[in-house]
Symmetry: C2
Subunit: 411 residues, 2 copies
């Protein structure tokens, strides 16, 4: 017997038929003899509608009232899910955020969970009553509703799994798990049976939108075993799992590279002819940091004249216009000749904890891209990741070539 948390996202509870299908997955776990807590999102589209209502009232609305309005989406699903389970003969009840309670701080609209009172829940689970918990919502110290921000239902599920000391937290979504590459681009992409928290974090931050970064961080912190799997795949249950996300130490044989990802979310900025004197880089990036603009990759070249340099870096596409505006205003002070923005780039990354113990991974990446005539514009590396910025039109070609080069294609 185990205690399992199952979380169903918006597409997995999109309508009553999908809620009933999700209830079948819950029933299967109960019939295996497991205790089950279910976390549900709002039905697909509902949260957006509610957010739109609040936005129309006033763009500068009270975040506390925003939380009152948007938290209702999950509440509706929790009641319907409890009913669906009962209709399938499973004892169940809903537990709203204020009933458990899920204590959060008072940062309305983007609250953080502080504590989940679990004693009564654990007692009810022990009585074989499934607990249905609306994700995304909590109770502030001011005794008012809070919400956790986008992706908050994943956070609720992981935090609940930690509080209940669950054996596993299953995140049901509309994909079968985590793949070695985007299956729409790489036909030979394989589903990974296991992946580490750190790899998952890199994947999440690099555009593989299966799990929110915050929920993976929380799972890592509390050592919650996550499983990503599809609610749309009838065949997939706990016996034929999706992808397990777990600690380093639980993965015996690590693959050298787990996956190849790409992201079109970045833009490149090059400052040409920057005066080669101390403090210029600090002033440039300090200005952006003050404006809360996140700079990702940075590279600096010494120009041929030996007296000026070029600085290249990437920012999120959404921040490009503001970046250009801010730096252009400081052109004289910073002392650069020209600013060249470029949205026509893609970041391609290979990820794998195996890199730590294998030499030559970077070399193989550069060689593979070079062989296809793909020019590398910027490089950045971490312990378990190598990213390169290349021209956007080479994205698919690069991902496919790297997927093959690291032996990730299906047999």
């Amino acid at each position: 017997m185990a205690l399992i948390v199952q979380k169903f996202g918006g597409t997995s509870v999109a309508d009553l038929d999908r809620i009933a299908a999700a209830a079948v997955k819950v029933k299967q776990e109960v019939e295996r003899g497991n205790q089950v807590a279910v976390v549900v999102s709002a039905m697909a589209g509902v949260t957006n509608e509610l957010v739109e209502l609040t936005r129309k009232v006033s763009p500068l609305h009270d975040a506390r009232e925003y939380d009152v309005v948007v938290s209702t989406g999950e509440q509706v699903t929790s009641g319907l899910m409890a009913m669906c389970l009962q209709a399938q003969g499973i004892a169940a009840r809903s537990w709203l955020g204020w009933q458990i309670p899920v204590h959060t701080d008072d940062a309305h609209g983007r609250a953080r969970i502080l504590d989940i009172e679990s004693a009564e829940l654990i007692r009810r689970l022990g009585d074989r009553q499934v607990a249905v918990v609306p994700g995304f919502q909590g109770l502030g110290s001011d005794h008012r509703m809070t919400t956790l921000g986008r992706g908050g239902s994943d956070i609720t599920a992981v935090a609940l799994a930690a509080a209940l000391k669950a054996q596993r937290c299953d995140i049901y979504t509309d994909v079968d798990g985590v793949f070695t590459a985007d299956p729409r681009i790489v036909a030979g992409a394989r589903r990974l049976a296991k992946i580490t928290y750190e790899e998952m974090l890199e994947l999440a931050s690099l555009g593989a939108k299966v799990l929110q970064t915050r929920s993976v961080e929380l799972a890592m912190k509390h050592n919650v075993r996550l499983q990503v799997l599809s609610s749309f795949n009838e065949a997939i249950g706990s016996d034929t799992p999706g992808t397990l996300v777990l600690g380093d130490e639980e993965i015996m044989e690590q693959e050298m590279v787990s996956g190849v990802t790409y992201s079109r979310d970045d833009a490149k900025v090059t400052l040409i002819g920057v005066a080669d004197r101390p403090g210029v880089a600090a002033a440039t990036f300090g200005t952006l940091a003050d404006a809360a603009i996140n700079v990702d990759m940075i590279v600096q070249n010494i120009a041929e004249d030996g007296r000026s340099t070029d600085i290249t870096f990437t920012v999120a596409n959404d921040d490009l216009a503001r970046t250009v505006e801010l730096l252009t205003a400081l052109q004289e002070q910073l002392g650069f000749a020209r600013l060249v923005p470029d949205r026509n780039v893609v970041k391609v990354s290979v990820i794998g904890v195996g890199m730590r113990s294998h030499a030559g991974i970077a070399q193989r990446m550069f060689q593979t891209l070079g062989d296809r005539g793909i020019n590398i514009q910027v490089i950045s590396t971490s312990e378990i990741k190598i990213s390169v910025l290349i021209a956007e039109e080479f994205a698919e070609l690069a991902v496919r070539a790297l997927h093959a080069a690291y032996g990730l294609d299906k047999e």
Copy 2:
């Protein structure tokens, strides 16, 4: 300075424009120097959609989960209303049923309010903060959401007005007040400035669907001054009121008759040739009472042969089929010759507390109908009401004739 409760029904908060218009009415009261608590219904149509969802899951669903689902409609409106007030510069916050709390019994789906904790609300109102309270919802002794049943937002408003000892409870709806007759039928119908609780109760139970019976009873019990007025009429504020519903003792000059109403909700059943022996009527109506079928008007005639009688009574249209079925099954036992059902009837009533002290009101009613050749099938009277059952096709003619006969037409 006064403390006012304002309640806005579904059509008065149908969309964001309507909510903003309602907020203007609140602002007007605040600017008069009054303390205001606002009770809101769900946006028009929302509750029906939510009820439909629960019905689709299972007709025999858990009433506790039903309450979790359907109470969200009012919650959304309360958050949006608080935002709208803030956008108009009025300090406001929402108070959900479990936050106040509004304590109810545990009859989920049709709970009764037991107590409203008002100390904190009164303190905040004193700080000039408008309290926005979702109607219809409360907190059961089991610490779970409850709902009060249809029309529950009116109940919330009246109970809140009683708890806060409010000077007035304004019920905003889509009509201008209570009229001497249905203005769609009687061109000369006038809005009543004042009406007693008892008259309002008779009107409510007779098909003038302005206020639910339960809320009027509650107002009478706690002596809450109600005002019925339209949220669609820009000109109507507290200075040019709708209809005040209040205690007998507050109305100095009582009109003899306050209004003429009609209802098509009843059906007539006649049992012909009933054996003239003791206990037959008791057995007949006992059977219906056991089946929770409400019998309204009853009349019994002695047949010409002196050995059998006819019994005529009315039941709600919705109960007619079951009534016929039940009594037909007992035909031999009850000993009647024939059962004749008739949906082709209308109940027309004249109502007024002035009847108590005026003779001849009934006589004038019978005379007026007789003059038009309208046959009276059944009569029933109470202290402040006379009702007659007539053929359905005479409904409008009878209402107009009586309205004129009692001098209710506009000058």
